[in-house]
Point group: C2
Chain length 650, copies 2
């Protein structure tokens, strides 16, 4: 156990988002997603599979009879809903919603066992088998989600009922797991409680939570391997598929002690949840080994295993990473939850160190993979976020069955929609970080915030028309004149920028500090920072080692990756190629799915009429010039089933 | 049942291959494959998994005790070996080999049950369950292979012991299956017996065999569906994986009556074995509905679902076809056995109708997919024949685990190597067809043959240096001068040809007859036909609907498709592109894997050193001119593990 030191930079002040672009999506979560999910949890959505999640709690609480149904980790859906409710209430009080949440929390409390244990699967179905299959059964994972919910709900409402439930639960867990003689030296197959315990520590200041989180992280991958031993003790069976040959420890990131890991492997959501907790602990404990591991894993993941959309996970087999530079566009996984976890990890790295590279990836994942997962109605989602879709292949080639051409309704394993809900309702937490009296602006999302900087309370308001325009205004209002720094991120996509304070140019020749332009001065009330990041559609190329994108070009404008759709360009998108020298024209189309900048450029289309119809032939088909239309990736799949392609021949 | 009419064109005369190129491979089968397989069947190959196939027969015969081991269709390996031995003995008598085969046949006879039943799995393991799981258990499939073996062995040796075994077996089968009251209205999950019964009919002239074959073909896909009913009767379980949701009838080509099928679907080997029998029956019975179905299925398969290498089957899920124009190069299946079955089907279509398009596909599959499946040592094989390989992806991306970068030793499911063995030892049967006193030359493989044409016995000898040169000489020696036709196929790849008789040009302006140049005249002893098919490496393009090959070019020279290998061109083959206007230089390299024409051309390589190392960037990497070396596809993977690519950016 490393010495626990108090964190320097976790108090971020308070930020309220006031942003036209994101406001729409946050309201969608509040007005549609949270109520819809509430109904889904209560099995009252006719078109969705019954969740049975609330029913399980009612049975566990002895309020009704019946069997446990749903996934073994079904409880976590209730927790993720409560967490999103917490964030939502902190944005806008809603008494009816709060009453519903209180009722659910009361039910959760009623289901909790006298010793603090809480997991309806084992309470109802296998009461004698608690903590015997950590690998598959997710008891600690569910506990982690309840902890996150309790912290969010307490911070929003000041109500501590759920907080007390999870503290009692954690005390129980600490009586079962730990370094002491007779306790389990184990950890969950699905990381989550580790980052949740850090949140509980930050809220309560109680060191025991941090110690338990560190225990789980430190123990992972140690020999003798807990998951392997547990599997042997169970008779080499899994919860899912009976007898197995071997436990694939890399799938669980339990193949090596975490400090020895350098390559992102295994189930990608588990991986990024773990890295998030590692970065948290590195920040809180100053553990250099953990920090270095985080830096190595970040580097590997974002420089060798990440799609241009901020998606991670190249295969649906195990929803997992594969290996360096293996980023197929059509058999991709790029799960929504994995990109959300990547954003969690990026935020923790920004808290460790103000380096814009972390915010660049955060922005990339947020505006593309994550935002694109959600339909404009808030009720349909992509679980898998492909970069190339041929709808017929999704239905007729089993290797692409996991890829869908249109967003689906609530899932049997409904992890992604509640994860989107909790991210968007807590998006205010991702905009700024503070390091040593400097406020770092990581995301350009309109907001009003209050921080303590230079010994003063400072109001900061940010305005922009991002992601369509790169003009950002930051108004600074200290209670009294004070010296501190304000840093604005210069995104990696920007080809130049203009920076002013009160209309006067700031010397932009000054070197950027790890991707930020930092202004250190005495600030007076009403000072205004103007940042202009000119946005223009431009060509992006992939590392030549990235075989799937060879000879192809992507279009990006500001933070948004673009794509071609059949709706605009006709079928057989593979027949299109860009004119290598062609300019892009950009225009805002208010009629396109809520309004968006569309990009047009000259290109070529193979003329199918010039081909003789044979499967193979020696006379090349002719090409003819065409206009190619690209739309932001996040909007794809909203106009019926059709082909889509991010990388285009050039 | 359709009226049975005697076939007009099945007596092909006798052909002995005398060919340097194929002679090598045929000797490899005789000297290495057949002896090796004999040892494997006897569990005496230390490096291979025990086959247990002979042991199963010994147990079934009561000669030793033990359990049945291996696949439920393990018996077929013994049958395929005996079939290959038959063909081999017809090429060259070998007393020791014949003694071994007789011994095996004696054992097979000893295992046969008094009522004629023969399948060691059910004899040993589930004696009460005969004929209860036709879908999975392949009893008729194994019977089919024994029938093929018996015909081949009888034709080579005149020995009828195995023939009598299978006739007794077929009589037993006919007592179980058939249109009569009380018999099963079923068929095998894996087609094979249908084409085998046609061979038995051709040998014996006994109509009952043809009727049974027709019964199986006619019954397939009829409602109520036999396979579905059987599955329900079994309690909805399969032999392989317990309870299943549904029987996927298309996998078994049992989704529709065969005469209503138009699209190649399901397991590709089963499909082409069935189409082969359908074409046989169409030829023998004159059934127009069957023939039209064959033509539709041929057209769909070869014009919409075939790789340029003659591979079929786009997915390893079910080793199956997917849908039109879905031909991914890297997640491909293209099983060796499927291309062999495609050759079987092509031969039957050539017997139905002299159209060179069937021989073009036969040649394509033989010289590329099939020949490439075998290592130069005869002991290593590809089961899957990809068109693009990145070895690391084969081991680290589970979606490509079925693709191997190097040929493997004998397989657990050893279907491909014995299938190659029986095809190559019977290759003499694929060179010619005879229609109405015209001899059609389908393949350019050196041979000496005897036919009856124009009422005379005619010796024909063919010589060429194919596939390296397109100069072919056919010497015609009728016993006495006689009028008949000789047709030479003008391959679809040839851009022109010269044809002479006794050195004098034949009018090549005459229209080809369905792809053949036909010379009808009075032939005298010593007449010599000279055919010159100039071979030059050239570019081949794919139909624009074939998305996987968009913007890419393949190189073909004569019948051989070429590929790039890492061994010649370095790693990251995706970084290479052809110079669109570049010429090809060709040279015979005697040192390359037994000697081959290699093709070189100018191209470009992305210069990795000019890339800044980022995963994505806005500055395109530079390219530099390089020389690109292509080798025949069939030789790939013989120089260690490395990348390979057939389609190259242009």
């Amino acid at each position: 156990m490393n010495k626990i030191t108090q964190t320097k930079n976790t108090l971020q002040g308070k930020t309220s988002i006031k942003d036209e672009f994101w406001g729409h999506y946050i309201r969608l979560v509040q007005d549609v997603v949270i109520p819809y999910q509430y109904e889904a949890l209560h099995d009252r959505v006719p078109e969705a599979e019954p969740s049975h999640a609330i029913a399980n709690f009612e049975i566990a609480a002895g309020r009704r009879t019946g069997e446990f149904k749903g996934w073994v980790f079904q409880d976590s859906d209730v927790a993720k809903w409560l967490e999103a409710v917490g964030y939502s209430l902190s944005i806008k009080r809603d008494l009816e919603l709060e009453r519903r949440a209180d009722e659910v929390i009361e039910l959760v409390g009623a289901a909790q066992q006298p010793d603090g244990y809480l997991d309806t699967y084992f309470i109802i179905k296998e009461p004698g088998k608690r903590w015997t299959n950590l690998q598959d059964c997710h008891e600690l994972y569910c506990a982690g989600h309840f902890i996150e919910a309790a912290v969010a709900y307490y911070e929003a409402t000041g109500k501590d009922k759920l907080l007390n439930i999870v503290r009692k639960l954690v005390d129980h867990i600490a009586s079962v797991f730990g370094p002491e003689e007779g306790k389990l030296k184990g950890y969950d197959g699905h990381q989550e409680i580790e980052l949740a315990l850090v949140k509980l520590y930050r809220l309560t200041g109680e060191q025991k939570y941090l110690e338990l989180s560190s225990f789980f992280i430190d123990q992972r991958g140690q020999e003798p391997n807990f998951l392997r031993k547990e599997w042997e003790d169970r008779g080499q069976v899994t919860h899912w598929s009976g007898k197995t040959d071997k436990t694939d420890l890399a799938y669980f990131q339990a193949h090596l002690p975490v400090r020895e890991q350098s390559i992102a492997v295994g189930h990608s959501v588990r991986a990024v949840y773990m890295y998030t907790a590692m970065a948290d602990l590195a920040a809180l404990t100053g553990d250099a080994g953990l920090r270095q591991a985080c830096e190595r894993l970040w580097q590997n993941m974002t420089q060798k295993q990440m799609y241009i959309t901020g998606g991670i996970g190249s295969t649906h087999h195990g929803e997992a990473f594969t290996f360096d530079y293996d980023l197929p566009n059509d058999t991709v996984y790029a799960e929504t939850c994995a990109s959300i976890g990547l954003i969690f990890f990026a935020k923790r790295m920004l808290e460790l160190e103000p380096d814009a590279k972390y915010a660049d990836v955060m922005e990339r994942a947020l505006y593309n993979n994550v935002l694109g997962s959600m339909a404009q109605d808030g009720k349909h989602y992509f679980y898998v976020n492909p970069l190339e879709v041929w709808p017929q292949a999704c239905s007729c080639n089993p290797g692409k069955h996991h890829v869908k051409a249109e967003r689906q309704g609530w899932f049997g394993c409904a992890c992604c929609p509640p994860n989107v809900a909790r991210l968007l309702t807590s998006l205010n937490q991702y905009i700024y970080t503070v390091h040593e009296d400097t406020l770092y602006t990581n995301l350009y999302i309109g907001n009003e915030s209050v921080f303590t900087l230079g010994g003063q309370e400072v109001s900061v308001s940010q305005q922009s028309n991002y992601p369509w325009e790169g003009k950002v205004q930051l108004k600074v209002e200290p209670d009294a004149a004070a010296a501190f720094g304000i840093a604005v991120r210069i995104p990696s996509w920007s080809k130049g920028f203009e920076l002013t304070v009160n209309g006067e140019a700031v010397d932009t020749a000054a070197e950027l500090e790890q991707g930020y332009a930092v202004i250190r001065r005495v600030w007076n009330a009403g000072d205004v920072i103007g940042l202009n990041l000119p946005m223009q559609a431009s060509r992006i190329y992939a590392n030549p080692k990235l075989r799937a994108d060879a000879g192809q070009t992507a279009i990006q404008r500001g933070p948004l990756v673009y794509c071609l759709e059949e709706a605009d360009n006709g079928a057989t998108l593979s027949s299109l190629s860009l004119n290598g020298a062609g300019a892009f024209s950009e225009s805002f189309d208010a009629s396109l799915l809520g309004g968006a900048v569309i990009v047009k450029t000259g290109g070529f289309r193979v003329d199918e009429a010039s081909w003789n119809g044979e499967l193979y032939g020696s006379t090349k088909a002719e090409t003819k010039p065409v206009e190619i239309t690209a739309i932001p990736y996040y909007l794809w799949g909203n106009r019926g089933s059709g082909e889509m392609k991010v990388w285009i021949r050039d």
